[in-house]
């Protein structure tokens, strides 16, 4: 496929054998000790700091997963559940909607403590907030609906520190889906698809002091500011709404940056609009830009680069190749050298892509389509993305990357832009989403370096849940009909499913306490992509159950006396 540089393709070919044996390495054991890692725990939104959403646990595996049964369930009392819980040392922490935070015994769901922060009026409408937690130094870090970052004592649930990131009434923004840990700092993005100058902030984990803030749009006098018109850069968007990753060895924080504003009218902001639609690598100590890779210069189609930057370490000739894999809403996946930001490979992860003629040797789009003032064009994927805030997973065990594709398109046009002030929503256009005329949504397993598919499983409607893989040769997910499921990681075959009674849009996780492995699945549909199901798949939507808010936790049957009953 012409997407990959010839040289890379050869190099990649040589790696193939090694990829299957890939192992994660941390050269610096001392740093690794401070860095949350999956194992028996699930310490962060994406598992560990590599954003692989992978667990090395294998007690539950492709041979026995069919025997999974409910160990316990927990009802939050709220009305959706878009949160991914974390588990550390046998305690589960769950951030339910409305700033409702629970600490639960991870073996039985008993409440250890619960807290609920007051929510002032006028905060963002609930979607996407209250989703992720980070943990370090005995503290839980929570972004709040009203745009504070809060540290809570994990043992007691008591507040330790609380800092207002920016007044939500001013910026019409809130915190990213999740904060992440980066050594002694907690890093958080700013979510709000509005006229705003996006940023990524790091706070000292112990004290809450702002360590640095990186603005994703360079100021006047800084390199890259000339990629913007004079009066727009400071409200040019670049929402950093999802979550990042961290490499302790390079001491770099990676984060995906969202689209520029006004969203659908690129002609109103001539220039590349740096660093929107880019992956940025920041020095974790200072917040200084180490490198960036822009996927869609002067974007007019809302092709965010916000999805997770996944860190892959691939062994090759006794050397560890440190790569970063990144999916864009545009339907393309990019592989970069994560030390330098150099482009290694790029390939489509979606079937229906009409907005360009592929990528050139540097990964730049060839002949990208732009929106036109007042003229509708059918463009695929739609601005809902080939995928969005439903993360992928990479299994070092299979060497495969698992991802979903929504396969929607949209009649898209630009509209005249009204000059706005900070916090205003300026779409600069209009869309009418439709189903892809000739392709179907799917989940697939990809070779991360070539994009070659190992398997593809069509789904009746878009799978909006994130995916999680395990060393048990499994990929867990959930569908909008409420079924939690496990797929065989090698061939995509469905090995287990359980009807939770409400659609699933948050990430399954897995953890182990006292030698017993559990799988937790949040049930309670939320998020923008789910809103497409009703209008675009009306016949399937009839099967979508009402919205609930329950966490289901599964385990294999316990051996011993219990069996005798």
């Amino acid at each position: 496929m012409g997407m990959i540089r010839q040289k890379s393709a050869r190099r990649i070919g040589a790696w193939m054998g090694a990829a299957a044996l890939a192992v994660m390495t941390f050269a610096n054991a001392a740093q690794a000790a401070d860095t949350p890692q999956t194992g028996s725990d699930w310490p962060g939104f994406f598992g560990d700091n590599r954003a692989q959403s992978y667990s090395p646990l294998d007690q539950i595996n492709s041979k026995n997963v069919a025997k999974l049964q409910v160990a316990w369930a927990f009802q939050t009392g709220e009305t959706t559940l878009g949160a991914t819980p974390i588990v550390v040392d046998g305690i589960m922490y769950l951030l339910a909607p409305n700033n409702h935070l629970f600490a639960l015994d991870a073996t039985n769901g008993q409440v250890i403590w619960a807290g609920k922060r007051e929510i002032p009026s006028g905060t963002l409408g609930g979607v996407g907030s209250s989703t992720g937690l980070a943990m370090g130094f005995g503290l839980l870090f929570q972004g709040t609906r009203d745009n504070h970052l809060v540290a809570v004592d994990a043992k007691t649930g008591r507040d330790v520190w609380d800092v207002q990131i920016e007044d939500y009434r001013q910026c019409k923004c809130t915190t990213s889906f999740t904060p992440i840990m980066a050594g002694d700092k907690v890093v958080v993005g700013a979510r709000g698809d509005v006229a705003h100058r996006g940023y990524i902030s790091a706070y000292e984990a112990k004290t809450g002091k702002l360590a640095w803030r990186f603005y994703v749009i360079p100021a006047e006098g800084e390199p890259g500011n000339d990629s913007w018109p004079k009066d727009i850069w400071n409200v040019g968007g670049g929402s950093t709404w999802y979550g990042g990753s961290y490499d302790p060895e390079l001491n770099l924080v990676y984060w995906g940056v969202g689209n520029p504003q006004p969203m659908l009218n690129a002609a109103s902001r001539p220039g590349a609009n740096l660093y929107t639609d880019s992956v940025v690598a920041l020095d974790a100590a200072t917040g200084k830009l180490k490198w960036f890779y822009q996927e869609n210069p002067n974007d007019s189609l809302d092709y965010d680069s916000a999805p997770e930057p996944t860190l892959l370490d691939i062994q090759h000739d006794g050397k560890t190749e440190k790569l970063l894999l990144h999916a864009n809403k545009s339907g393309f996946t990019y592989v970069l050298d994560r030390a330098t930001g150099k482009y290694v490979a790029g390939w489509p992860h979606a079937d229906k892509i009409t907005w360009n003629k592929g990528l050139d040797k540097d990964g730049h789009p060839i002949d990208p389509v732009e929106t036109q003032l007042g003229v509708e064009k059918l463009i695929c994927p739609s601005l809902y993305g080939s995928r969005a805030g439903n993360h992928s997973t990479y299994s070092p065990k299979t060497g495969l990357w698992y991802n979903t594709s929504f396969e929607t398109c949209a009649y898209t046009k630009a509209m005249p832009v009204m000059q706005g002030k900070e916090g205003d929503m300026i779409m600069g256009g209009f869309i009418r989403p439709v189903r892809s005329p000739d392709t179907k949504p799917f989940i697939a397993a990809f070779d991360p370096l070539t994009g070659k598919r190992k398997w593809t499983v069509p789904t009746e409607v878009p799978n909006v849940s994130p995916l999680t893989s395990t060393a048990g040769n499994l990929v867990f997910g959930g569908d909008v009909f409420g079924n939690a499921y496990a797929l065989d990681a090698t061939d995509g075959k469905k090995l287990w499913s359980f009807p939770t009674g409400s659609g699933i849009s948050a990430s399954p996780i897995t953890y182990s306490v006292k030698g017993r492995q559990y799988v937790a699945v949040p049930s309670g549909l939320q998020g923008a992509p789910a809103t497409l199901i009703g209008p675009l798949w009306p016949e399937a939507a009839k099967k979508v159950p009402p919205v609930g808010s329950t966490l289901f936790v599964f385990a294999l049957p316990e051996k011993g006396p219990a069996d005798a009953h």
Partner: protein, 282 residues
């Protein structure tokens, strides 16, 4: 009600809401058109709860107002006209759907196009200098930004005084308050807490037998830190001369401070330029 409507499309397709008329089928279609057109993740939110645009729940709009807004847009706001994008039937469906978001609507009977004030009348625009001052006031990228501690018309930080009421003071007086804030200030008592070997000095938010909360101003934005007497902390009063209230103005020019003053003074009426000379003269 709000909670039931958390997801427009699903609520609509589940058709579980009690809606007398129009028929459930039409309401579902209306919910679908709304989900695709109005809610997306960018504007009125799932179920009209409000995302970047205003919430539409329980707004008690008159139907004609909704119809004209959807058809023609609302000038001066980001709300566009949909007359070219939606058919007349689709607009009908959306209007019915939006009306259904206010189940106890006393304006629901047809009636004239009663304007439902969507927001306060737009404030008098600031002049160039005051607008520049507004940006400086709220610019959190700058060390010591005013809004990190202070609010203006309720927007900004909760720590210092709200500055909406200072507009009548002279430019010189305000300049003095910025460059040499009153120390000490009885309204903002300072305390120190020693806990776990470190001492924090800050402005007291609350001090009870159970909890002591201080705004730690040693970094910007200030951090609200909580301490618990039960943990064996030591609480003391800080010296009255503590420099804690001092404003770090090292990154600000005199012109910028003049612009902030022009902005603060604009709360009392149309904005007027403030000259550097006025700052110097009582």
């Amino acid at each position: 009600m709000r909670t039931k409507l958390a997801i427009a499309a699903l609520a609509a397709l589940a058709a579980s809401r009690a809606v007398a008329a129009p028929a459930a089928q039409e309401m579902m279609q209306g919910g679908n058109v709304f989900a695709i057109t109005c809610s997306s993740s960018f504007c009125h939110g799932e179920g009209g709860v409000g995302a970047r645009g205003p919430s539409l729940l329980n707004r008690n709009f008159a139907p004609d107002f909704v119809r004209s807004t959807v058809t023609n847009g609302r000038s001066g706001t980001p709300m566009p006209s949909f007359k070219d994008s939606l058919s007349a039937h689709e607009i009908d469906l959306v209007v019915d759907y939006v009306m259904s978001l206010s189940p106890n609507n006393h304006n629901a009977g047809a009636g004239p196009a009663a304007p439902a004030p969507a927001s306060a009348p737009p404030p008098t625009p600031l002049n160039k200098q005051a607008e520049a001052g507004r940006k400086v006031f709220f610019d959190l990228a700058r060390t010591g930004s005013c809004a990190a501690c202070h609010s203006y018309k309720q927007e900004g930080g909760p720590i210092g005084a709200d500055l909406t009421g200072v507009a009548k003071r002279t430019p010189h007086d305000l300049y003095k308050a910025i460059t040499k804030p009153t120390v000490p200030d009885a309204d903002y008592p300072v305390a120190t807490v020693t806990a776990g070997g470190t001492t924090v000095t800050g402005i007291v938010k609350q001090k009870t037998e159970k909890i002591v909360q201080l705004y730690d101003l040693s970094s910007v934005p200030p951090v609200l830190r909580s301490f618990y007497p039960a943990d064996g902390i030591k609480v003391g009063d800080a010296a009255a001369t503590t420099p804690i209230y001092a404003h770090d103005l090292s990154g600000y020019s005199k012109d910028e401070l003049a612009s902030v003053i022009a902005f603060l003074k604009s709360a009392a009426g149309p904005s007027k330029d403030v000259t550097p000379q006025e700052l110097a003269q009582p």
